[in-house]
Symmetry: C2
Subunit: 444 residues, 2 copies
Amino acid sequence: MNRQILTDLLRKRDFKAVRSILEVMYTVDIAALLAELDDKEMILAFRLIEKAKAAEVFAEMSSSMQAYLVEMFTEKELKELLDELYMDDTVDLLEELPANLVTRILEQVDREKRAQINTILNYPEDSAGSIMTTEYVDLRRTTTVREAMEHIKQTGIHKETIYTCYVLENRKLIGIVSAKDLMTMDDDLTMDELMEKEIISVTTHTDQEEAVRLLSRYNLLSLPVLDQQGYMVGIVTIDDAMDVLVDETTEDMEIMNALSPSEQPYFETGVFRHAKNRIVWLLFLMLSATLTQTIIAHYEAAFTAVPLLVSFIPMLTDTGGNCGSQSSTLIIRGLALDEIHFGDIFRVVFKEFRVAILVGAALAIVNGVYMVIRYRDPMLALLVSISLVATILIAKMIGCVLPLFAKKLHMDPAIMAAPLITTIVDVCSIMVYFQVATHLLGLI
Amino acid sequence: MNRQILTDLLRKRDFKAVRSILEVMYTVDIAALLAELDDKEMILAFRLIEKAKAAEVFAEMSSSMQAYLVEMFTEKELKELLDELYMDDTVDLLEELPANLVTRILEQVDREKRAQINTILNYPEDSAGSIMTTEYVDLRRTTTVREAMEHIKQTGIHKETIYTCYVLENRKLIGIVSAKDLMTMDDDLTMDELMEKEIISVTTHTDQEEAVRLLSRYNLLSLPVLDQQGYMVGIVTIDDAMDVLVDETTEDMEIMNALSPSEQPYFETGVFRHAKNRIVWLLFLMLSATLTQTIIAHYEAAFTAVPLLVSFIPMLTDTGGNCGSQSSTLIIRGLALDEIHFGDIFRVVFKEFRVAILVGAALAIVNGVYMVIRYRDPMLALLVSISLVATILIAKMIGCVLPLFAKKLHMDPAIMAAPLITTIVDVCSIMVYFQVATHLLGLI
């Protein structure tokens, strides 16, 4: 389906055809298509979508489009939209809207829903509470399979996910039953007989990444969220978890490459915003590099005596940077996947030490042979190779230890990646290099 | 549950207690616990797990544990295990096992299952075919909701996912019905009236990442896989998709940081393997850096005349490397998330150009002010700041263009990340620096 066809049909006012097209399209594709229209066409097309589907399309839209629609909607349209919108999508919407539109929306929903919205809005950013939905199927201990199926038939259509049902007693979660059980088990069994009593759950304040990790580890479709008092308040669903997983990895990759994380896609971010996201880290790293300047200036006598020394600096610092970022990447990723913990620090250091020796030896030999052939100066070759081994050792040690300490100090380990490691390793490797040079070549 | 308790109970031969414990534990946790036991205790404990659950625990185990168990199993035990194991887990197992054990397994399964296994094993690595399972619920056009529910009750317990049902006609997929529809719609409706006819599907040869992207985009729980002739052959389920998503991102991060990707967790990879995964890239990058050596050596006259010039090299090359990796990271990630395509190349270049100007200006000003204060040499400050702007421009252009071309040439864009960009940018920035220096300071 392309934009031109839709625009033509809208101009011809052939709304019937537009309606038929929108009826068979997937919500996410409709949202993408509407994003290509101009504002007037967009709202016209949006009004042609059938009510329940329109809410789903709305949930897939960018926040600027959502804001525009909310602004243009009549009271009646807004009310209809909010009735159909799932709780987590409503909250997402409110988090992005300007304040005057938030007020407009809160006036439209009933008191109970408003209370729920306010509670969710107050959970910390990136917590399980902030991404949960409050709609789920709840059953009682004594409900039978037949009654449960009947209950779902009556009410289930409005629940975001009905494939995992929660058995509650005095608002506390006492068991979990899957729709698979309901569909395949004997009609007269009660929830008490069927339910899984070993419950995997999180609290509203649990980090959303932890919630995603649990969903993935236990192959769940949804995860119950309890409040601080242990009462069940909502669920995190697998489709939201997938989105969180993608967003969190993007954020990690950005931080690991000297970018301030941004939630907007590349093209939707303005040039100034892009520049701002990049300048902070670059300035910090550039100013840190003044330390390297001081050190190099200090060894002026060495490299004016043997100018060739200078030409190996970039190779040494790059190799150091690469070695350090290899180690830090493995540790940062291992921490994120919960495969490595701070308690493993000695195992990690010992492993990286041995790897560094092997890697250092291999590179030093290749470099030594190459330099002897090219420069016919064994002493110079020895000097660079020794510096190479030392640099690799230092880089790997720094690269593996810093992310672990960051984690221990409740900082994001992703900060301790290539850019910062490179800057630190530069200082060390240049000092080692000139130190070895002055001794080995008898300079100064 | 900790290891010591289990070991003690096993030594006391209190199998009843062990059985009770294993009964309430989650499969993934049992697998983790068994991994801590020695081989004999492990197989003893494994035999105490109830049959159907044992297969799930088996599927969660590391390939070395699986190989050990297959080797120790009696024919009868092996047969029982294979009967319970889902098709995709069986295939995963066979892909990792040594050849003699593969033969042993293929002898145990019936001819039909063997044919299925062989087909899946032949699909390309990382294709949808290689991760799909062949078990799913299939219905006919004329089936009613009541009949469908009855059918699932009879057979569904053996299907990996029953929440999405596939309506087939002559083995071709003609529609999709969710369990939610079955549970909430009128009993007498037929599949023909209920089913979604706009089908999202992949072929056996589609890249697994594309399958994951579709599952996520359309919020699906499973995705149908068709063969080259368009017949339905299996489904990719959301839990496998989550694993693929995590593995693929880890792989991207590793490649982006000069590591040969490895599928084993950090601690399960030996020191030699770790060293091997790192040396390849390091050697390549180290040897590429010889170009920088040649260039610096060429400008010997310049820096022996003004030795201070040398001290700014690391700051320049690091800033260039960081700027380049910022751009390449955004493009690599945008390509992976399908937000950026090769056709966008001019928009990307134009955007990065403007960002580079802003970032370059900001850094040049800060650097200029700092240098004038510190060295009281406006000419030197001007020289370094001009080089800085040029370096940033070059770095951002290279950083954004290379991943796009890699994609166009069907290479992995992740290769064009920090390490390679840094090496290329080094050469450019050092040439620019000394070129500007010779002109501005009137050297040579």
